[in-house]
Symmetry: C2
Subunit: 398 residues, 2 copies
């Protein structure tokens, strides 16, 4: 049973069917002039339309990348490199304290090169305040990058408000742009680049039932980026490298299916998740929901079980055939407690006791019943082994 | 009939079989701790061994990328960025005048940032001279990047000599490194990082019968690179982003098959190519072989047919079901004549009259017979339409 859909999702059989011709007879290089190239070029064009439709963009505004990480790097580093060529002042960017490492690590890398960065707080609910964005604004601010929804706790950020704020500034002649990492949001909630009013937006295929290794950056017309992968003329010169036609075709199909999913399956997943959570909190009165109960993706549930180590619970559940995670897969192996949960004001112990359950379209109510047969016993067993057992049971109502 | 295998190759059915489980039931994120992650982690580890074996490297020295372009960018830009942190002097790099755009464009981009670059000549045979490498050396030289074999004309460069030269310099305490783009060479001729004595080496999967979207950079132990794609801890922190397990598994299988191919199929392809060429030159006494007849990959034949436009011949052949190219697919759509053929000392007319035939393991002697039934007529027809017809027939013996 797989409850780690925020780390990656299984490939939808329809998506696999859409890519198979490009792993068999339709193998041409999409840049080739001959027939073999023309048929794969057409497939890339079709997929670009499908991906654009998912986020209400124009196909020419979609740049395919090798995934969300590359897209976030291209958006932020590519944008700053294009800007510094035209300015004397060191640029300033505003981001949040709970971004994915592919945003945070780029921001920190840019800081070493003299770029100034403000990391906005998110408070106990895991949500950025628009007032904080406004207060962080400086004369030198050129970019705001705030994720659409967080990958560990699922909180949905006020990106439409930020987009409106940036748009208003631009209408007064300010040169400032807005990027949002929508890797977790796309396919789960409505993501519309016009509604968000963003200039750059990142999506990834393997979070929406397509294979790993493909993603895209939405680049609004007129937004200049310095290419990060220089080479051929692919992707209008913004991203060199032979197009991965099979993965692009798969991404296109997955985007098409995701557009439908947002309307149908998200409600079902939300109900499944809410049922799961209410039964957990009924059993464990001291369990803590990390993040905000309502302003949240429908598929993510991040819960701290005081007195246990999340990793021990993960391994215990894994031995019983249930896959969950302690945080983002990208940070696995890190000895540090989750910086996202820490950013909520949680201490190390609470951060270490967190487990992320993330639901996908293949999950069923029966699976939720089954995890609820296994999970409480596992939590109790680990608590009985914990040195802080006595202290905890005294303070707990459960 | 597909004679454009230097642009891309069909996926070997064995390679497809190797990747399919990772597009179906084995879909975990290789960074996840649970069972789903462990089984894909094992697949990535296995593929890393297979790719390492193809080039006689250690598995820990293989960094998976989204392809040859990303690997070349990481090698050169990543190396220079790691170096500039530690030096006051602006670094100098040496490369050749016939590198792939993913090397040349990175070099030109670095020039804008103050890095000095020497582009070595290749003369009429399309081959770099070791003496020119030695003469280009400066106190500030930190990197030499010369491709193993050219993608348009197939010429094999003296990389083992360059490697020896760099190794000798290093033994005297000089801080200088050597990168080679072996995208076209790997799987066609022996590529051994110990024999070449390189520090960085680029390979790509879709040139050796695996899908597009995956490649690797060999990074010799102790070689420092500044990551170009910052994010999670994947690829030992050198390249963030969720591993594309299906493509990596495919690349591993293709590398395993390629190790065998070098020994068996390369001879067959060379014979096929040589037979093709001798029959072409017999018919067209004025046709010109671009590059060197012997120091060349076995699968590439680049021929100029004076008096025709290569692109017109390409389209003519395509209409008859035969796929060839005028140069690299990456430069398709460029109005400029091939810079590689120009670097041989050819004028624009000769550069524009060039056609690249590149053979693959699926090509047969029957296909060569068939192309020789079609090609000469196509060339004659185009020549009869050419305004320079009279001038040419007077100077031609054919």
């Amino acid at each position: 049973m797989y409850f780690d859909n925020a780390a990656t999702t299984p490939v939808d059989p329809e998506v696999l069917d859409a890519m198979l011709p490009f792993l068999r007879e339709k193998f041409g290089n999409a840049s080739s002039i001959h027939f073999f190239g023309q048929e794969t070029r057409a497939a890339v064009d079709k997929a670009r339309q499908q991906v654009a439709a998912l986020i209400n963009a124009r196909p020419t505004e979609v740049v395919f990348t090798s995934g969300g990480t590359e897209a976030n790097n291209l958006a932020i580093r590519g944008f700053v490199e294009a800007i510094v060529d035209t300015r004397d002042v060191k640029p300033h960017i505003i981001t949040s304290g709970i971004e994915h490492p592919s945003v945070t690590n780029v921001a920190e890398d840019l800081e070493k090169k003299g770029v100034e960065v403000t990391y906005l707080p998110v408070y106990a609910d895991g949500i950025v305040r628009i007032e904080d964005v406004e207060n962080a604004l400086r004369e030198a601010t050129v970019l705001i990058s705030v994720m659409a929804a967080n990958n560990e706790i699922g909180t949905v950020q006020p990106i439409a408000e930020i987009g409106k704020f940036v748009k208003n500034l631009r209408s007064t002649g300010r040169k400032i742009w807005f990027h949002t990492d929508a890797v977790q949001a796309a396919g789960k909630i409505m993501v519309d680049v016009e509604e968000i009013a963003c200039d750059l937006l990142t999506i990834s295929a393997h979070k929406i039932y397509a294979p790993k290794g493909i993603g895209a950056l939405y680049v609004r017309r007129g937004t200049r980026l310095h290419p990060q992968s220089l080479g051929g003329r692919q992707e209008r010169g913004i991203r060199g490298g032979t197009e991965s036609v099979p993965l692009i075709a798969a991404f296109g199909k997955a985007a098409e299916l995701a557009s439908q999913l947002v309307e149908t399956d998200s409600k079902r997943l939300g109900d499944l998740r809410d049922d799961f959570e209410s039964r957990i909190f009924e059993r464990f009165g001291d369990a803590i929901l990390n993040g905000d109960r309502t302003r949240r993706l429908p598929n993510i549930s991040n819960i701290a079980f005081p007195g246990i180590e999340g990793e021990a619970l993960l391994i215990n559940l894994d031995m019983q055939g249930i896959a969950v995670s302690t945080g983002s897969a990208c940070s696995s192996g890190s000895l540090e407690p989750s910086p996202v949960v820490r950013a909520l004001g949680a201490d190390d112990a609470r951060a270490r006791s967190a487990i992320r359950f993330s639901f996908g379209k293949q999950n069923t109510a029966d699976e939720v019943d089954r995890i609820l047969e296994v999970l409480p016993d596992a939590v109790e067993r680990l608590r009985s082994l914990s040195p802080s057992k006595t202290a905890r049971s005294e303070s707990s109502a459960a």
